[in-house]
């Protein structure tokens, strides 16, 4: 009897775990009559492939704000897409240059569209390496607004002020780390 009292809670836990497993997001492991409640491509388990732009950003200690913003804007699955993407990735220090209030506001659920607009302004569909950038070149970003490139003495400047401080190739494109947040022109 004593044992039974000990077993029941454990059995209960086991049942709970099993039940949770069945409902797990990746649910593709087992046959079922109803579709598994799958997440998007970001849920694909793969430790072998080269890292994509999202994984690189998530692994960077300097891009916690950017990653939080990407999650808040619901762009996680987009950034693991085949792309290819050129992502201008502002550092945490770059985000810190914005007024705190502005940033806090953008992260609110009701401002998801505005946040997406800003993030999409940081993404170009296509791979453009730093050395391929030309002075005066306009990059039409995912949100349909242009980023203007200036090249002076080998240094690349975006919209007249943001510097590319590092570039990291990814499986689905390239990340250019920038020291300023790019703000889309109003019109």
């Amino acid at each position: 009897m004593k044992h039974l009292f000990q077993i029941i809670p454990i059995a209960g836990l086991l049942v709970l775990i099993c039940a949770c497993n069945q409902a797990a997001p990746s649910g593709a492991d087992s046959a079922a009559a109803t579709p598994a409640a799958t997440v998007g491509q970001s849920g694909v388990k793969d430790d072998v492939s080269q890292q994509n732009v999202l994984q690189i950003a998530m692994g960077s200690k300097d891009h916690t704000t950017l990653v939080a913003a990407v999650k808040a804007a619901g762009l996680v699955d987009v950034l693991v897409n085949a792309g290819p993407f050129t992502v201008f990735a502002p550092t945490d220090a770059a985000f810190a240059k914005l007024p705190k209030e502005t940033l806090d506001n953008l992260m609110k659920p009701e401002n998801k569209a505005a946040l997406s607009n800003i993030l999409e302004y940081h993404v170009y569909v296509g791979v453009i390496k730093k050395e391929q950038m030309r002075d005066g070149q306009k990059l039409n970003q995912v949100n349909l607004k242009n980023v203007v490139v200036a090249v002076k003495d080998g240094d690349v400047l975006l919209n007249g002020s943001a510097h590319i401080v590092a570039s990291v190739p990814a499986s689905n494109g390239i990340i250019h780390v920038v020291d300023e947040v790019l703000l889309p022109p109003e019109k």
């Binding site: 809670p9 209960g12 109803t34 349909l144």
Partner: protein, 655 residues
């Protein structure tokens, strides 16, 4: 007491666990009846045929919906060893082109023939994207009956879309190329020397026979997709283009510089009038026209030598450009024929053009200048409106019968449903992963059947059991009968599907041919009975008039063949019984098998490579004595005087 608490906690866990199970299935409500909705009971038929382009396999595959069961592969532009297409003497000519005999192509889009803008279930057309061609498939036999090469073209991508009565099937070139007298020019001279063409191929209303009627000469850029108008816009055809920058290198960057490319509106009725009035310029061009004759069971190639080219910059008033944001891909006309949805694949909006406004802008000459001599209509003057923030990477749009549109979004990997009139987004569902084309049954016609939308995805990753680096392609079936789209089935597809169509099974299944009539077989080497089976020497060619019937080949013993001979096995299947094909192959064959349908004759050529007795057999399990359906051919040294003899059963006396 402590024990009791533990016990209670345990029970509570179990209760919570069971309750969670219940709420979990409730949480996926809508899809819980998925199995039932996609289930087609054993022995019953699917509701729709789904014709799916095969992409890089060069074939077209046929699935049943809603089950997703693969029921047929139709070879069109690639050889198919499974049934001998491209290997048998009869089918080799189907793959002739001006570049020689080609075993492979890239098959992107299909169209089902229409009458008055509605599916009529007669033919299917397919494009070859690499070496420009159009194929016509007969939907009574599910066989490729005709392939026409398209000259002055390179990469036949915006094809094989149709006018609403199948008067024309179009072929817009993806690559522009030098089309002048001088072909050996610098690639850097793209802007001066390169042109594109939009070809209009007429379809004979009775026979379906194709003829290149005229080609519209266009400025050098890339032409992408197309759709015929419908109803009020039936006289027009709409093409999307990209690379209006006219770049010739690194298009990934250089073809995305302009804010807008174009949707090109072509008044094909007017072009047809010009062509009939002899206004075009005839140009020399050599291109193959391959036709399969169902009575001789044989394809032949006719070489065409001329095309008629219409220059819209000179012959005015039949080509107009509508500006469209960012490298448009799909260019889809809604069932009313009044609206054209263009998907700028790099754009964050879906512009929808109004046909009425376009006509008015043309009448008012409301131009925004010209592009290479062609009038550009003002964007605002032709725009019905833009679907705002529909998702990322819009590619293609299909329609239902209730005024709604379904657009595939590659980058955000979803299907977005929106209303054509209000342009409001109504619903969105994720696809797994990165959808390319999509299909609503009849969704490209004046009469969509609705009911389902199918996503043909470009990325599979973890959707099925892993099979090494190379994976099948993933498709998803969604029920669209309600307000919300509901995922009901994943199914694998072969090749790489691009566009697909679906048609109610009732429009096709009753017309499906079961056998070829033996008495109508006009093959020059047919043997309509075992009494006609024979072996004839013509120089070093040996013609074997062979018959196949359960369960023997006639003749099944052949002698008097020598090294250096070429043996033609003309096998006639004498069966007149549904689904009793016979196959034929021989040891050391450098060819595929031939698969011979009842009443049909097909030919396998074989060149002996060694002296000896070589076995042959039926390669399709046909009967209880299939394994007995075999024979021998004796190969003697060159110059041997072994007499030519053949038999089945008792051997004839040596003369």
């Amino acid at each position: 007491m402590k024990k009791l608490v533990l016990f209670s906690i345990g029970l509570l866990f179990i209760f919570v666990a069971l309750w969670q199970c219940k709420t979990k299935s409730a949480a996926s409500a809508g899809s819980e009846d998925a199995a039932q909705k996609a289930y087609v009971a054993p022995g019953t038929y699917d509701e729709f045929y789904n014709f799916v382009s095969g992409g890089f396999n060069g074939q077209i595959s046929v699935y049943g919906l809603p089950s997703g069961r693969l029921i047929k592969i139709i070879p069109a532009f690639s050889v198919f060893p499974e049934n001998g297409y491209g290997f048998s003497e009869e089918t080799k000519a189907m793959l002739n082109t001006s570049h020689g005999w080609l075993p492979w192509d890239d098959q992107h889009h299909i169209s089902l023939s229409m009458t008055n803008g509605e599916q009529d279930g007669r033919w299917m057309f397919g494009n070859a994207n690499n070496t420009p061609r159009i194929a016509r498939v007969d939907l009574t036999t599910f066989r490729t009956m005709e392939i026409l090469e398209i000259p002055n073209s390179a990469g036949n991508h915006s094809s094989p879309f149709l006018t609403q009565n199948t008067e024309y099937v179009v072929a817009g070139t993806r690559f522009s190329i030098p089309l002048g007298e001088k072909q050996d020019v610098s690639i850097e001279s793209y802007k001066d020397n390169f042109n594109g063409t939009l070809s209009f191929v007429s379809v004979n209303p009775e026979s379906g026979r194709l003829k290149l009627a005229f080609q519209v000469l266009m400025p050098g850029m890339d032409f992408d997709l197309a759709r015929g108008g419908k109803g009020p816009s039936a006289d027009w055809f709409f093409f999307s283009c990209y690379n209006s920058e006219r770049a010739n290198s690194l298009l990934e960057v250089n073809a995305s510089q302009n804010d807008k490319d174009f949707i090109i509106a072509v008044n094909w009725k007017k072009a047809e009038e010009y062509a009939r009035a002899g206004k075009g310029v005839k140009r020399k061009a050599r291109y193959a026209h391959n036709i399969y004759d169902e009575k001789t069971h044989t394809a032949t190639t006719t070489w065409e030598d001329e095309t008629l080219v219409l220059d819209p910059a000179e012959l005015k008033d039949f080509v107009y450009l509508m500006p469209c944001p960012k490298s448009p891909h799909g260019c889809d006309v809604d069932p009313t024929g009044k609206f054209i949805a263009a998907s700028g694949k790099l754009a964050a909006v879906i512009p929808v053009f109004s046909f009425d406004k376009m006509l008015k802008a043309i009448a008012d000459r409301n131009y925004d200048g010209d592009y290479q001599g062609l009038p550009v209509l003002k964007y605002d003057a032709v725009l019905h409106g833009e679907v705002q923030k529909p998702g990322l990477g819009p590619l293609h749009t299909e329609f239902d019968a209730n005024g709604n549109a379904y657009t595939s979004m590659f980058v955000s990997s979803e299907i977005v449903k929106w209303n054509v009139q209000s342009l409001q987004v109504l619903d969105r569902v994720p696809t797994y992963y990165s959808i390319g084309h999509l299909c609503v049954p009849g969704g490209d016609t004046r009469k969509p059947w609705g009911k389902y939308v199918i996503a043909y995805n470009k990325i599979t990753k973890d959707r099925f059991l892993p099979t090494g680096p190379e994976l099948t392609q993933s498709a998803q079936l969604y029920d669209i009968s309600g307000d919300k789209m509901k995922l009901i089935l994943d199914f694998p597809t072969i090749g790489e599907p691009h566009y697909a169509n679906a048609i109610p099974a009732d429009q096709i299944k009753s017309k499906s041919v079961k056998i070829y009539k033996l008495e109508e077989n006009n093959h020059p080497y047919v043997a309509k009975g075992e009494g006609q089976a024979k072996v004839v020497r013509a120089g070093n060619k040996i013609h074997v008039y062979m018959t196949a019937i359960r369960s023997h080949l006639t003749p099944d013993n052949i002698e008097g063949v020598r090294m250096g001979d070429e043996v033609y096995f003309h096998v006639t299947n004498l069966e007149q019984d549904w689904d009793v094909p016979h196959g034929f192959t021989i040891k050391g064959s450098t060819n595929a098998e031939i698969l011979v349908m009842p009443g049909e004759t097909q030919t396998l050529v074989w060149k002996p490579d060694q002296v000896g007795v070589i076995p042959f057999y039926c390669s399709d399990f046909c009967s209880a004595l299939h394994q007995e359906m075999q024979g021998y051919i004796r190969i003697s040294p060159a110059g041997s005087n072994v007499p030519l003899r053949f038999w089945s059963g008792d051997a004839p006396q040596v003369q």
